[in-house]
């Protein structure tokens, strides 16, 4: 997951300045934007971030959106995943299956997917089995 510095967006972008304008004036964005590399289809910064107000997101219809409501933004394109999430068959969760007996915490899109490069990253497999029978090759059926 991309690690962004804990700086309010409006610190730099508050006066309506865009990244390219700031860069032309020699403002170094590296420290703030870290290692952001965009691998998300044909999307650009302004596809999701409001050009005039970097503290908010922007929907395709021009409405602004708080960062906390990211899922609404993702849902514009990823309808199948959104449906599955609503039906409880996409995304990890913790807590209770029986909601009458306890709470449940569910992951949201950006808990697992880096919005700038959303493909799920490969991981190292943990906990290999220690089984007596492992050394022989399986036979085809």
């Amino acid at each position: 997951m991309t690690q962004l510095a804990r700086v309010d967006c409006v610190t730099c972008h508050g006066v309506g300045l865009r990244g390219d304008t700031l860069a032309a004036e020699g403002v170094e964005g590296e420290a703030v934007h870290g290692d952001v590399e965009l691998h998300h289809g044909a999307l650009t910064c302004d596809s999701c971030h409001s050009p005039g107000d970097r503290a908010t997101l922007r929907l395709a219809n021009g409405d602004t959106l708080a960062f906390a409501d990211t899922m609404t933004l993702c849902a514009q394109c990823h309808g199948v995943q959104t449906r599955d999430w609503r039906r409880g068959s996409h995304g990890g969760m913790n807590g209770y299956w029986d909601l009458r007996r306890g709470e449940r915490v569910r992951n949201h899109c950006v808990d697992c997917h880096d919005p700038h490069a959303p493909a799920y990253k490969p991981v190292r497999a943990v906990f290999p089995p220690r089984d007596r029978y492992l050394k022989s090759e399986p036979e085809a059926h």
């Binding site: 996409h90 029986d98 492992l134």
Partner: protein, 300 residues
Amino acid sequence: MPTVPRRTVLKAVGLTLGASAFARALAPLTEFTADVSADEFLQKHYKELTPAEMQTILRRLEADAKAEHGVDVTIEDVRPTPGVEFGYALNLSICIGCRKCAEACHEENNHDRATQNSYIRVLEMDMGSLDMARGRVDYEGTVPKADKFYMPVQCQQCRNPPCVTVCPVEATWQESDGITVVDYDWCIGCRYCEAACPYHARRFNWKQPEIPAADINPVQAYLSNRIRPQGVMEKCTFCLHRTRKGRLPACLEACPTGARVFGNLLDPASEIRWVLENKRVFVLKEDLGTSPRFYYFFDE
């Protein structure tokens, strides 16, 4: 010299032989006293226990755990909830084969640490094939690999469980919420059920599980994750000590990709029912007629 009647001699010889044979036959009982108490030896089948007897047994098991492992554990007899039948579904399009579920099972269910026992095996399968015999469990490194998919296999909680049918002593049975359980104190360790299971889902305790005291999960149930004795069978119980209290199973919570869906099959509004009604669902080895409550599916 007075003659002793042959009848008397034979009676004496017979008595001596009989007495020694009787003593010999009872000898194993004297050995029981070392590690098996009379209470334990005379314990009745799970289904025949009164609530009071069960409480006595649970307190004894807790004391045993304290004595043998040095930890304070609570062992409950968690019963099924009426109107609940558990179902589990796993999305093979999302599973990446990281084995976090197998690891979580290992820790939750107090498995032997040295053997890395777990109720879940993750098969690395060739893309385009469902030949389980070709699935590998000893893959390593970065996952998922390009031409593979990953299929975790655990107890399928069959509606027609062959493991239950073959048990000669009725030490394993299916409960009203669909979970097949084992009374570890009734099992004789013949391993018939292990041979009968088409999913390789049962495990045998070749030795008493060894777990560092700090790693023992102290929240235990009689029919699930209490530390098993040596020489008995064990299996996945859908974490009944959690799920019968409304919580999600440990393997589901550990899944980093959200490939697992769990819930009540009898609730038409449940998420598991939505998956069964809207996804392309299949079960393993359907032709065997075991009718699993564990389902697999791919995304469209």
